[in-house]
C-alpha cells in the first residue's frame, strides 16, 4: 500500500492539467441516474479517492477505466454502500442519498458483479444467489435462475455446490444474480476475463439489450478495445483522481491507454521467436483420470515445446487447465515416466522438486495459497520454490541471508511494490504478488517455464512487464508454455497456440495462421480445417 501511494505522489505534478481536463465535463444534461460529486476517501497514508466526480446516465454503458490502485474499487465500494466516503455526495435520480449498506444500494436498484467473487464455496448456486438477493432459497427462485440463465446464455445448475465450479462458472453466478435483481444500475467489474470470444460477444449483446431497456451499466475494465466496442462514455481514474472523461469511440486505444497510465505505454510489441529444433518439454499421450468428482480427466495430451518458443494454451476455465498444470508441475505424477519428457529425460513420475532441479519451473493460477503461502514473508516464499535451483543453504540449513538476497533481487528486477522482503505475501496487491511469483521463477533461470494465467487480475502496466519477461526468456532459449483464458494475451505473446476443451488438447497451430474466431471454435472443441494446421 505504502509503495503504491508514493507512486501516486509523482502524479500530483500534473494536477492542474488534469483539473483543466475534467472541467470540460458537461453537467448540462438532465439529472443523471447517479451523480457522485467530490468523493474523497483516505486510508492511513494513502488517498484512495481524491475528490472524484462520476456521472452515469440511465440507458448508457459507462466505462470506469484505470489501473490497479487507481481508486476504481474504492469508488465502486462507496457507490455500493460497502464503504463510506470521507467527503462528497451521491445523488440518485437527482435526489441526494446516503448509501449506508449494500442492502440499501440494492434497494435503490444498484447491482454489482464483484471482481473477486463473493461466493460461499460450501453452499449451492441457489443458496448463493438467495443470499446475494436477500430472499429465500425456494423453488420459485430456482425457476427464475434457470429462466434468466437460459435467456442470457449463462448456463447454471442451481443445485451444484460452488466449490465444484470453475472460475468462469462462478462468474456466471454473479452475473445471473445481478440480472435477477432487475437493476437500474449494473456495475460490472472486469467481467470478460474468463469468457471465450463468443461468450464475450453474447455478454455484450446482453449488456446492450439491458441498456436499451434503460439499465445503466458501469463497466470497469482495462481492456481498451472492449471499452471502445461497448461503452458510450468513459471516466478515467489515475492515482485516486479523475483524470479525464472521454467518449471511447472518438479515442484511439492508445490515447485511452496513455490517459489511464500517465506516461507512454510500454506494452510489448508482438515478436516472433525462431525456435531451435531441440524439444525441451514433451507430453506424449499423457492421460489422467479425474481423481475427484468435478475434476476434468486429461485424455491423450500430446504437446512439444521447443527451446526458444512460447506456446499458448487457450481454453475456458474448467476445461482441464488446473489438471494439466498439476501433471506438468509434478503435483500429480503421470502413470509412466515416458509420458512427460523433460530435456530428453523421462520425467513423468518425478516429484515437483526433482523437476524443478531439472529446470522445469511452474507458476500455478491461484496466486494466494497455491503459488505462495499467504501468511509467510516474501523471503520465505522465495525460498520455498527457489531452493531447488539456487544456493540458499549453509551447511544444510536455510540461509536467511541468501534467501533474502534472492527475494530482494526479484523485487528489484520485477519492480515489485512492497515494504521489503519481510512483508507477508497476502499483504501485496494482486498485481505485485503476481510480479513477485513470476519473477521468483524467472530468476531461477529455468529451461522450461510453465505459467497459468500470468496476468489474471493484473493491471496493464504489470501485465506488460510480465509479457516482456516471458518474451525475454524465450529469446534466451527457454521453452515457455502459457496457459491462459485471456486470448489477447495469447495472441500477443505465443508463437504457437492450441486450445484445451474438456481435457483434450487441440492441434497446435502457428499463431499468425489462426484468427480469434477460429481459436474460439477450438476452445469449443471443434477443429480447424487442414489448411491452417502447422
Amino acid at each position: 500500500m505504502f509503495g503504491l501511494c508514493t507512486k501516486f505522489g509523482k502524479l500530483t505534478l500534473c494536477d492542474n492539467y488534469l483539473k483543466a481536463m475534467s472541467g470540460n465535463q458537461s453537467n448540462t444534461s438532465a439529472a443523471p441516474l447517479v451523480a457522485m460529486r467530490g468523493i474523497t476517501k483516505a486510508y492511513p497514508g494513502c488517498l484512495a479517492n481524491d475528490s472524484i466526480d462520476l456521472f452515469v446516465d440511465a440507458g448508457t454503458i459507462h466505462a470506469l477505466l484505470g489501473e490497479n490502485g487507481a481508486g476504481k474499487s474504492t469508488l465502486v465500494k462507496i457507490l455500493y454502500g460497502l464503504l463510506q466516503a470521507d467527503a462528497g455526495s451521491i445523488e440518485w435520480r437527482g435526489e441526494s442519498v446516503t448509501i449506508a449498506s449494500p442492502a440499501q444500494a440494492r434497494q435503490l436498484g444498484i447491482a454489482l458483479v464483484f471482481q473477486h467473487f463473493s461466493l460461499f464455496e460450501a453452499l449451492s448456486v441457489l443458496e448463493n444467489i438467495a443470499l446475494g438477493m436477500a430472499v429465500d432459497a425456494n423453488n420459485e427462485l430456482k425457476q427464475k435462475i434457470i429462466e434468466v440463465s437460459n435467456r442470457y446464455g449463462l448456463p447454471l445448475d442451481p443445485d451444484r455446490q460452488v466449490y465444484t465450479l470453475s472460475v468462469g462458472e462462478r462468474q456466471r453466478i454473479e452475473i445471473v444474480r445481478c440480472l435477477l435483481q432487475d437493476p437500474k444500475l449494473l456495475i460490472m467489474d472486469e467481467p470478460t476475463s474468463v469468457l471465450t470470444p463468443q461468450e464475450v460477444n453474447d455478454l455484450f449483446v446482453t449488456l446492450r439489450r439491458l441498456s436499451e431497456e434503460g439499465v445503466a451499466i458501469l463497466y470497469i475494465s482495462h481492456k481498451l478495445h472492449e471499452i471502445k466496442a461497448l461503452c458510450s462514455e468513459a471516466t478515467i481514474l489515475r492515482g485516486g483522481k479523475r483524470v479525464a472523461t472521454a467518449i471511447p469511440e472518438q479515442e484511439s486505444t492508445h490515447s485511452l491507454a496513455s490517459l489511464m497510465m500517465g506516461d507512454e505505454l510500454v506494452a510489448p510489441e508482438r515478436e516472433t521467436h525462431t525456435p531451435q529444433d531441440k524439444v525441451l518439454l514433451s507430453l506424449s499421450n499423457a492421460s489422467r483420470a479425474a481423481a475427484e468428482q468435478h475434476e476434468v480427466p486429461l485424455e491423450n495430451i500430446n504437446l512439444n515445446v521447443r527451446a526458444g518458443e512460447i506456446v499458448g494454451i487457450a481454453g475456458v476455465a474448467g476445461n482441464g487447465q488446473d489438471e494439466l498444470m498439476q501433471v506438468i508441475s509434478g503435483e500429480q505424477a503421470l502413470g509412466h515416466a515416458q509420458a512427460l519428457v523433460l530435456d530428453g529425460e523421462p520425467a513423468g513420475t518425478m516429484s515437483p522438486g526433482a523437476r524443478r532441479a531439472k529446470g522445469l519451473c511452474c507458476v500455478p493460477e491461484e496466486r494466494l495459497g497455491h503459488a505462495s503461502v499467504p501468511s509467510m514473508s516474501l523471503t520465505e516464499n522465495a525460498f520455498l520454490t527457489a531452493h531447488h535451483r539456487t544456493n540458499m543453504r549453509t551447511i544444510g540449513l536455510i540461509s536467511k541471508r541468501k534467501s533474502k538476497r534472492f527475494a530482494e533481487q526479484v523485487i528489484e528486477q520485477f519492480n515489485v511494490q512492497c515494504n521489503g522482503t519481510a512483508t507477508a505475501a497476502a499483504s501485496l496487491s494482486g498485481g505485485n504478488l503476481q510480479k513477485f511469483i513470476v519473477g521468483r521463477e524467472i530468476e531461477q533461470k529455468p529451461s522450461v517455464f510453465v505459467v497459468s494465467q500470468p496476468t489474471w487480475g493484473v493491471d496493464a502496466g504489470a501485465a506488460a512487464a510480465i509479457h516482456k519477461s516471458l518474451q525475454d526468456m524465450a529469446r534466451q532459449g527457454a521453452a515457455v508454455l502459457v496457459i491462459s483464458q485471456d486470448l489477447d494475451e495469447l495472441m500477443l505473446i505465443s508463437d504457437r497456440i492450441a486450445a484445451l476443451c474438456a481435457g483434450r488438447l487441440s492441434d497446435v497451430h502457428q499463431t499468425e495462421d489462426v484468427t480469434v474466431q477460429q481459436l474460439g471454435e477450438l476452445m469449443g472443441g471443434a477443429s480447424i480445417s487442414a489448411e491452417v494446421s502447422a
Binding site: S101, F114, F120, E127, A137
Partner: protein, 310 residues
C-alpha cells in the same frame, strides 16, 4: 414384566439420560461452529450452568427457575467469550480453553455450600395410561421435559439451518465471513447470537446433569462431557441428525461399559472407558475419506477472527 425386558428398559433409560446432556451441549456448539466460531469452553459453560441451576432450584424450589438460571449462566460465560474473541479478536482457541478452566474454578467456588445437598430432581412426565404401557411407557412417556426438549431442539436446529433464511445466513458467515460482509450481512452480530445460543445450550446441558441425571452437585461433575460434545460435532460432520445419532452412540457406549462391568464381563474397565474415544477416532478417519462431505458441511472460516474493516 419379564426380567429381560426390565433389564432392557433400564439400559435404554440410562442411555437416554447419558445422551441427553451430550445432545444439548453438542447441538449448541454445532450452531456456534456453523457460524465460524470455535468455542472450546463448552465444559466450563456446562459446569456454570450445572451449579447455577442446582443452586437456584434448591433455594427457590422451582425446577423451572433453576433451568432458567442455568441457561443464563451458560450465556453469561458465552458472552465473555464472545466479547473477547469477537469484540477484541482474541484467539478463539486460547480463550475457549481459558473459559473451561474459569468455569471449572468458578463452579467449584460457587458450589462449595451445595455439596451433599439432596434434590429430588426435575419431575418426570406422567401421562395417565400412556406412561403405564409396559416397556413403551417407561421408554417413551416417563421422561422429564428436558429429554423431549433435546429432540425438539435437534429438529428445530436442523430445520433452521436447512430451510430458513436466517440459517442460511449463519452457514454463509461460517463459510466466508468476508463474502457475507461484502453482501452486507452483520457477521459479528450473527456470531454473537450463535455463541450465546451455544452458551445457553451448554448451560441447559449442565442443568440436566445436576438436576436430572445425578441429581446433585459435585465438583467438575461434567467429567469431560463438554469435550465429548466438541468431538461429537466433528463426528457428525456438522449435521444435526448425525449428531443425535452420535450422542446416543456415545451415551450407549459409556453406559454399556458400566452394565458390562455390573454383569461381570471380565474386561478391564479402563479399556471399556476408552471405547467412546476409540470409536471417535475410527469414525473421524472414515469421515475424512469423504472430502466432498467435509467440504460441503464444515464451516471453512472456523476459528478465524474476522476484521470487518478489511
Amino acid at each position: 414384566m419379564s426380567p429381560e425386558s426390565n433389564m432392557f428398559v433400564m439400559i435404554a433409560l440410562t442411555i437416554i439420560s447419558a445422551a441427553t446432556p451430550l445432545v444439548y451441549a453438542a447441538i449448541g456448539e454445532l450452531v456456534v461452529e456453523k457460524s465460524g466460531v470455535l468455542n472450546l469452553g463448552v465444559e466450563g459453560m456446562m459446569l456454570a450452568g450445572a451449579v447455577s441451576g442446582f443452586a437456584v432450584a434448591h433455594v427457590s424450589g422451582s425446577a423451572m427457575l433453576g433451568v432458567l438460571a442455568g441457561v443464563f449462566a451458560g450465556m453469561l460465560l458465552a458472552l465473555i467469550f464472545a466479547f473477547l474473541t469477537l469484540g477484541l479478536r482474541a484467539s478463539q482457541v486460547a480463550t475457549g480453553l481459558a473459559l473451561t478452566i474459569f468455569g471449572i474454578g468458578l463452579s467449584a467456588l460457587m458450589g462449595q455450600a451445595l455439596i451433599g445437598i439432596a434434590y429430588e430432581g426435575i419431575p418426570s412426565l406422567n401421562i395417565p395410561y400412556l406412561s403405564d404401557i409396559p416397556v413403551l411407557g417407561p421408554l417413551l412417556f416417563q421422561h422429564d421435559l428436558l429429554v423431549y426438549g433435546s429432540f425438539a431442539l435437534v429438529i428445530a436446529v436442523s430445520y433452521f439451518l436447512k430451510y430458513t433464511r436466517a440459517g442460511l445466513i449463519v452457514r454463509a458467515i461460517g463459510d466466508s465471513p468476508e463474502a457475507a460482509h461484502a453482501l452486507g450481512y452483520p457477521v459479528l452480530r450473527v456470531r454473537y447470537l450463535a455463541t450465546l445460543f451455544g452458551g445457553a445450550c451448554a448451560g441447559l446441558s449442565g442443568c440436566y446433569l445436576s438436576m436430572a441425571y445425578a441429581p446433585m452437585w459435585v465438583e467438575s461433575m461434567s467429567a469431560g462431557r463438554g469435550w465429548i460434545a466438541l468431538a461429537l460435532v466433528v463426528f457428525a460432520t456438522w449435521q444435526p441428525g448425525r449428531l443425535l445419532f452420535g450422542a446416543y452412540l456415545f451415551g450407549g457406549i459409556t453406559i454399556l461399559q458400566l452394565h458390562a462391568q455390573a454383569i461381570g464381563i471380565n474386561v478391564p474397565s479402563q479399556l471399556m472407558s476408552m471405547l467412546p474415544y476409540v470409536a471417535t477416532i475410527i469414525v473421524l478417519v472414515l469421515i475424512s475419506r469423504d472430502r466432498g462431505r467435509i467440504r460441503k458441511n464444515a464451516p471453512a472460516s472456523i476459528g478465524q477472527a474476522f476484521h470487518p474493516t478489511k
